[in-house]
């Protein structure tokens, strides 16, 4: 559950624990020394995370033990009732959907779910959705519009499933339809990238009024591995590709791809899950509160304008 660059932190944490039990065993007072070490630990964490590379960030975003979609559903929301099925093709376990409360407000929550162990990974197809998952999302959009319930979508996927059955069932068609359908929502929509925002498979549920991202989450047009395989012809160049792709939370904020970065507890969301949940809940409550002030037309126009404006280019004088 630890990454190589986290080793010095883990070592120091272990040392402090050692010293504490030693002091207790021997009945001597080492509180001053321990206090000193704890301050050093905090500084070490701060320095480490301030300087980690984009590739290390990718690893944190994917680390086992990092809270998954269902963890947020369980801890940020209350009264969750899961709803199943797309009424067309199936029920995709890679996207969990249902009704829940965020504070006092009923919302429709959807979460891409990667799985928390090997068994769940397989059940959830590692968070890679099939067309039926996107159709389920669209069914939820319909329900949201009908009952005027805001949408909260948690994004965490390596990408839409690139398989035979998915292509046969029109993966491209259903993603474009999902993008369009979400852009037409008459209710507030917030998407939050909690881990990995993988390409079109992520975007399909992230055409929201507000797109948020956790500090150590990533959002990219392609995985660093695939990018490296294509552009460097060597997937082991993934660290370089991650650097080039500018896929971290603050990179994306600079590019206006996301609207807000939610800082994680020091050391990452997986180190302090409860604190992470509390922060996410308070941010979502505040963001939703703001959006609930807008009427249907404003919500639609704001969402449309937001995505219409994305991209970087310059005007030139002579046409070519």
């Amino acid at each position: 559950m630890s990454l190589p660059f986290e080793k010095p932190i883990d070592d120091l944490e272990a040392k402090i624990t050692d010293m504490r039990s030693y002091a207790e065993e021997q009945g001597i007072d080492l509180s001053e020394e321990i206090g000193l070490l704890e301050r050093r630990l905090e500084q070490l964490k701060r320095d480490t995370f301030a300087n980690i590379t984009r590739w290390q960030r990718v690893q944190v975003a994917r680390i086992a033990g990092r809270p998954t979609g269902l963890d947020y559903v369980a801890n940020v929301f209350t009264d969750f009732e899961e709803l199943h099925g797309d009424r067309t093709l199936g029920d995709d376990p890679a996207l969990v959907t249902g009704l829940a409360r965020l504070g006092e407000q009923t919302v429709i929550v959807m979460a891409q779910q990667k799985g928390r162990d090997t068994k769940e990974n397989i059940l959830r197809n590692f968070g890679m959705m099939h067309p039926s998952g996107y159709r389920k999302a669209m069914r939820m959009f319909d329900l949201a519009d009908k009952f005027r319930l805001p949408i909260i979508a948690m994004v965490d996927t390596p990408g839409a499933y690139p398989g035979l059955s998915a292509e046969e069932q029109g993966q491209a068609w259903v993603i474009s339809e999902c993008i369009q359908r979400m852009s037409r929502l008459k209710v507030p929509a917030i998407s939050l990238v909690i881990g990995e925002g993988g390409s079109g498979g992520a975007l399909a549920i992230a055409v929201a009024n507000r797109v948020l991202i956790l500090e150590n989450a990533i959002y990219s047009v392609i995985s660093p591995e695939s990018c490296a395989a294509i552009r460097w012809r060597d997937s082991s160049e993934a660290p370089q590709a991650a650097e080039a792709l500018k896929l971290t939370a603050y990179d994306l904020l600079d590019l206006n791809v996301v609207d807000r970065v939610i800082d994680e507890p020091l050391g990452g969301a997986h180190k302090e899950v409860d604190a992470t949940m509390a922060i996410v809940k308070s941010v979502l409550l505040q963001e939703l509160g703001d959006l609930l002030k807008l009427d249907e037309v404003s919500l639609l126009e704001q969402r449309r304008a937001r995505f219409r404006a994305l991209g970087r280019f310059e005007e030139v004088l002579e046409a070519a």
């Binding site: 009424r87 009704l99 009908k146 805001p150 505040q286």
Partner: protein, 295 residues
């Protein structure tokens, strides 16, 4: 009375031939265990041994879903007229009359209002024992009226289905009930009121292919047969055995057609949760106060 009548039946059949003798014990059709009938009734018509869900009489269903004493019946003011003067080996008019006398209702449906964990609801419950729960003009009209009245009274609507499909003795008029019940639901939708559909064993044909599958939330009881074309018709078409569990609730959940399969004992609380959540309209006041409290 209703429960007693139910006892005469051992397993779901056409619903128009229930002459088997009443006994104190029955052999579970699913696990073969000997069950004391009283225990079965006390256990919501669910086998205490294997959890097999038997069909439930209308009165017991109302008792299950509604708060005690809250039910007010709406249905029963109209009756069928045999518009085709349909006769097969027996006249429809006679058959209908016999069913009315035996089951003490005008047709295969009961509608009305009540409270579900304190929440105002309206509901329709089909009676499979009355001519196989078939949908003719009266069943369609009762459902349409109940849906519309629910809309007028701001009630969530629950439809409990158990039906062999359209009632063929009323010909194309029965077919038209599929469209009638569907358009009636527009009133409910316009008022943003929830429609929960509960599919019970068996729900087939024109009933499945109309209002039953238009619920905002669709729930089925375990192992219920739910289909458009019945298993026998399909077997005749494809000339081979159907896979185990085909057209049963669990299969349909996997195929994306249901929101959930729920045990009978959980239905009431789940329905209350759905209705409460779906009624959570966007409030005019913002959530800022709570936000501050959380920080």
């Amino acid at each position: 009375m209703t429960l007693e009548r139910w006892f005469r039946r051992k397993k779901p059949t056409k619903g128009d031939d229930d002459s088997s003798p009443v006994g104190l014990w029955l052999k579970c059709e699913s696990c073969n265990a000997q069950i004391y009938r009283k225990d079965l009734v006390a256990n919501l018509y669910v086998c205490p041994e294997c959890q097999h869900h038997y069909q439930m009489p209308v009165d017991a269903r109302l008792e299950l879903l509604l708060d005690e004493g809250s039910f007010e019946q709406w249905s029963g003011h109209i009756q069928a007229t045999d518009p085709l003067e349909f006769v097969d080996q027996e006249a429809y008019a006679d058959k209908l009359k016999a069913a009315q006398e035996k089951h003490h209702r005008k047709d295969a449906i009961v509608t009305g209002s009540g409270l579900l964990n304190g929440l105002p609801v309206a509901l329709s419950v089909m009676d499979f024992f009355f001519l196989g729960g078939s949908m003719g003009s009266v069943v369609g009209e009762e459902i349409a009226r109940a849906v519309e009245r629910a809309a007028d009274e701001d009630r969530a609507f629950i439809a409990v289905t158990a039906s062999g499909g359209a009632r063929m003795q009323e010909g194309a008029l029965s077919l038209m009930q599929m469209a009638k019940t569907t358009v009636a639901l527009e009133r409910l939708a316009e008022k943003h009121l929830p429609f929960i559909s509960l599919l019970t064993d068996p729900t087939t044909g024109g009933t499945t292919a109309s209002f039953a599958t238009l619920g905002d939330i669709i729930i089925a009881e375990p192992k219920a047969l739910i289909c458009f074309a019945g298993p026998r018709v399909i077997q005749q078409t494809i000339k081979q055995e159907l896979p185990e569990g085909f057209q049963r609730s669990e299969f349909l959940l996997e195929k994306g057609m249901l929101d959930d399969v729920l045990e009978r004992s959980k239905l009431k609380d789940k329905f209350a949760a759905y209705i409460r959540l779906l009624s959570g309209k966007v409030p005019q006041v913002t959530l800022e106060a709570e936000h501050v409290a959380t920080l």
